[in-house]
């Protein structure tokens, strides 16, 4: 029976290729709903009952296990995939006339396959089954990115994505094979045996690199800022929201089996995450492309999640259950939070793109007057991603902060310094995120428009606003009632790492109920003050005029601060770390009446440049080697002869 239930969605998603184009969306929505419901039932029942016994069943004699950790990630996946599907209806509307019916069908088919493959990644414990699901995930998302494949840049990006995913795949494959050669078994459970008897850090590093490419840790992130903008908005929302989290899932899953070297591993993860967080947001600030900017913020948030994981692992290493609980709970909650606010931001950016046909923030402006609801959703997303109260981002960052401060006060000398540096990193990430999102929101949505639009722009339809409303409600709920969400997460963590956290639950409950009360107070006071203010203003005469312009009444949109000028004082300070190419010609001395000028900035990713340099070097060597390939059969026979001779000599000298 279970076999049938699980195979059905795969068959149905292939059926979508032949269904009539009118019904196609509803059919796809139905399958998404079906998959979500069928997988959420065991997941939710597991999390509600706090049951520690995982569900185990078999399809085609392959073991499927749903434990607390899988269940948590499954719910996150289902919610985001569902909102993405809802959003796609409105977003793909203009493409229906441009694209052939088959292209749309293939898109939906792959969207469903991505959903199914992610769920399978979460439930398979057998190494080969896991890798197949992992591969299916990479390929289906590759085709999703390729949606606008007629653009050359998109094609290039997608192929780049596919190659990088396979590099990650090779690392995972080798890691599993090492495990098999030592234990005779290829599964996550075999890792437990391996880690108990062998050097831990090496195999963990293999897994970490494999998973980190998917998650987008710097310097393995180079696919991410290209792939997210290239994909349609609902796909970038789901890819950034949940797909990169599969890497996080893998890291946590492997960590739960690691025995030794935990302090060292934790230190390493904390370090690389802090770097990812800070550099991610620094790269984000200098971007002009709205979706690229959001993609860099994914790297930043992966950094924050990683800092939670690193803190928790250090806690495991020094045997401090409080740090384990705060670190991993913060990381897991941030996984959920990021999936919410990042998909929300990508969706509302998609709404803007649908109406303005540009991602370049320098050409937008004053969008709030045309699309007030979209602006409100983007604002909610911005506050949440900056980690500001009273929304959800604050709660998860708070958990990690609290863990770091606890580590500071209880730790040893080295530990205290490490924790303080991590705190500084987290503070910087928060501050830079605020800098970045005040820039994006104000340049895109506030002020007046910078470019003349040909036709009138209106708010997007309700079908696109509804999924954003759903996500916003979830964001607010987590912010105002954090305890409801933290409790199950602490239970997942304590079950996964077999620690006893009961003694800390009381103080955590107290802390978060007070945060909830203050958040509600904040909203109540704000609400009542706004009412008071509007009553006061109603009695008085309110005037409207132009913005004060130093006596000049002729204000145009060109005088506003642009994204580049807002980021200018920051990029001045951070110049050694960032590469920004400026393109302009200076005013010469004898130019009395300056001619018309333009000014462009091109931000570049330092890591991408470095990698390209290495690739260029390899290409140079390979080109020289290519001379051997003459195309004449005699030469090849000669090579074979030399090779045999070489082996003969080596054997004679007893080297092999």
């Amino acid at each position: 029976m279970m076999d049938f239930l699980l195979i059905l969605p795969v068959v149905l998603s292939l059926l979508i290729l032949i269904i009539s184009s009118k019904l196609r969306y509803y059919f796809a929505l139905f399958i998404t709903l079906y998959v979500s419901v069928i997988s959420s039932i065991p997941a939710i029942s597991l999390l509600i009952n706090f049951g520690s016994t995982p569900f185990v069943f078999y399809i085609f004699s392959t073991e499927i296990i749903i434990d607390n950790l899988s269940a948590f990630f499954m719910i996150v996946t289902n919610f985001t995939m569902l909102t993405g599907m809802l959003f796609s209806k409105g977003y793909l509307q203009p493409y229906l006339s441009k694209k052939s019916s088959y292209e749309i069908a293939i898109h939906y088919c792959n969207y469903l396959l991505l959903h199914v493959s992610m769920l399978l990644v979460l439930v398979f414990r057998n190494g080969f089954a896991f890798l197949i699901a992992w591969e299916l995930m990479a390929v289906s998302s590759f085709i999703l990115i390729l949606f606008e494949g007629e653009k050359r840049s998109t094609l290039k990006t997608a192929v780049n994505y596919l190659i990088q995913m396979h590099i990650g795949f090779v690392f995972l494959l080798i890691a599993f094979l090492i495990c098999q050669s030592e234990t005779g078994n290829i599964s996550f459970d075999a890792l437990k045996i391996y880690f108990a008897n062998h050097n831990n850090s090496f195999l963990f590093m293999m897994f970490f690199v494999g998973f980190a490419i998917k998650a987008g840790f710097i310097p393995l992130h180079t696919w991410l800022p290209d792939a997210h903008p290239a994909a349609p908005s609902h796909v970038s929302g789901t890819m950034s929201g949940v797909m990169i989290k599969m890497g996080i899932y893998g890291i946590i899953r492997v960590l739960s089996y690691v025995h030794f070297d935990l302090y060292l591993i934790g230190f390493f993860i904390l370090l690389i995450s802090a770097i990812s967080g800070i550099l991610g947001v620094m790269f984000a600030i200098i971007q002009h492309d709205l979706k690229k900017l959001l993609a860099y913020h994914s790297i930043e948030n992966i950094g924050i999640i990683g800092m939670g994981i690193g803190l928790g692992t250090i806690g495991l290493g020094i045997n401090n259950p409080l740090l384990v609980m705060l670190g991993f709970s913060g990381a897991l909650l941030h996984v959920l939070n990021h999936s919410l606010f990042k998909s929300l931001l990508f969706y509302s950016a998609g709404s803007v793109y649908k109406n303005y046909h540009t991602h370049n923030i320098e050409q937008l402006g004053g969008v709030i007057h045309k699309m007030p609801k979209t602006a409100a959703f983007f604002l909610i997303g911005s506050i949440a991603i900056c980690g500001l109260p009273p929304l959800n981002g604050f709660i998860s960052e708070f958990l990690i902060y609290l863990g770091l401060f606890k580590g500071l006060t209880t730790g040893t000398f080295h530990n205290s310094i490490l924790m303080l540096l991590a705190i500084i990193a987290l503070v910087l990430i928060g501050g830079l995120a605020i800098f970045c999102f005040t820039k994006v929101f104000s340049v895109v949505f506030l002020g007046t428009s910078r470019k003349k639009m040909e036709n009138e722009v209106n708010e997007v339809g309700n079908d696109m606003l509804f999924p954003q409303l759903l996500i916003s409600l979830a964001i607010i709920a987590i912010g105002l009632f954090p305890m409801i969400f933290i409790k199950p997460i602490t239970i997942i963590v304590s079950g996964l790492f077999k620690i006893n956290t009961d003694s800390y639950i009381l103080s955590i409950t107290d802390t978060f109920s007070k945060i909830g009360i203050i958040s509600i107070t904040l909203i109540v006071i704000t609400g009542s003050l706004i009412i008071l203010r509007s009553k006061m203003l109603k009695k008085r005469k309110v005037n409207y005029g132009t913005t004060w312009g130093c006596g000049s009444a002729n204000i145009s949109g060109k005088q506003q601060y642009t994204g580049s000028s807002f980021a200018n004082n920051f990029s001045d300070i951070a110049r050694p770390l960032l590469h920004i190419k400026k393109e302009y010609n200076q005013i010469s001395e004898n130019e009395i009446f300056p001619a018309k000028r333009s000014f462009y900035t091109h931000p570049e990713d330092v890591f991408k440049k470095t990698i390209l340099k290495i690739v260029d070097f390899l290409m140079m060597i390979l080109k020289k080697l290519a001379r051997l390939q003459t195309g004449q059969i005699q030469h090849y026979i000669l090579y074979a002869f030399i090779f045999i001779l070489l082996i003969f000599i080596l054997m004679y000298l007893k080297f092999i």
Partner: protein, 303 residues
């Protein structure tokens, strides 16, 4: 709740004292101590003019600015007395609440589409980002000294924690005064009395606010000063004194703090804008020195 009321009372006189000191040092008699509040009351009664480029963000931002400050006041402890809202890590919420207010404040400035206000907004965003680490290292230092992570417990135990406290507290109080000056856009970084829009930060951001909204912003700024004054007072009020003495120490600290600001602003020139980031980052490094110092002292003591 004590600190909440105390901050309200202090805020009444705080701006007046600064103004008086500045007048006296420049050889004038100066206005009534309550004059700044009289000005605010006038503003509260005035009607408003809004820029037609602005949106709802501009209208709600001043309200959010002041509510975040009121909520932050709820978290401020007083001399180790039990606080209703005290919890582990409350200072994180404190800092992030103030950041939320700033977030909306920056947005409201950008909402006008004015080139001046954009300038102020991006300076404010940069400076508040740069000053944040210094505050957190400072909190980290006192958390380390006491071993607690809520402000109320930290201040209840700070002076008793160890006898090196007084050495370190001098650095910490210096830092707090500087942080307070930056957070409130006062002297070495920003001058509220300057009349050139290009060189202002905070004042240039409120060019288009008027009437009720402007009053809210000014009340907020005054309260924020009083909050930082209370913060400093917590460092110096001994926890085991009778409350009357504690209150008198509290008020004299606040008066001295206001006087220091008045004197600093009278005799100190504003820094070049280009030098500001350097100055602000240097505060973090001083804080880092204080942290390392206390870490070393603590480990020496335990041995």
């Amino acid at each position: 709740m004590i600190s909440f009321l105390l901050i309200l009372i202090t805020a009444l006189f705080f701006p007046g004292i600064i103004l008086r000191i500045k007048s006296i040092t420049s050889g004038r008699k100066g206005p009534d101590i309550l004059q700044p509040w009289k000005n605010i009351l006038i503003l509260l009664r005035k009607s408003s003019t809004f820029s037609s480029t602005t949106s709802y963000i501009f209208q709600i931002a001043p309200v959010i600015y002041i509510t975040t400050i009121i909520c932050a006041m709820l978290l401020m402890p007083f001399a180790g007395y039990k606080l209703i809202f005290g919890f582990n890590g409350d200072f994180i919420l404190f800092a992030y609440l103030l950041a939320l207010g700033k977030f909306f404040f920056i947005l409201s400035a950008m909402d006008t589409g004015s080139s001046f206000e954009g300038m102020g907004a991006n300076r404010e965003a940069l400076y508040s980002m740069l000053v944040e680490p210094a505050f957190f290292i400072l909190i980290g230092t006192i958390a380390l000294l006491t071993g607690y992570t809520s402000m109320q417990e930290i201040f209840a135990n700070l002076q008793l924690a160890n006898h090196y406290y007084f050495i370190i507290s001098i650095i910490l109080i210096y830092l707090l005064i500087q942080i307070a000056m930056i957070e409130n856009s006062r002297m070495p970084v920003d001058d509220p009395k300057t009349h050139l829009e290009l060189t202002m930060i905070h004042e240039v951001m409120i060019l288009d606010h008027c009437g009720f909204d402007l009053a809210l912003i000014q009340i907020g700024t005054t309260l924020k000063f009083a909050i930082y004054g209370t913060f400093i007072a917590n460092f110096v009020i001994p926890v085991n004194l009778p409350i009357v003495l504690q209150l008198s120490i509290y008020f004299s600290t606040q008066i001295i703090f206001a006087a220091i600001i008045g004197f600093l602003e009278s005799f100190r020139a504003r820094k070049k804008l280009m030098k500001n980031p350097q100055f602000i980052v240097s505060l973090s490094s001083i804080a880092l020195v204080a942290f390392i110092l206390s870490l070393l002292l603590l480990h020496q003591m335990l041995k």
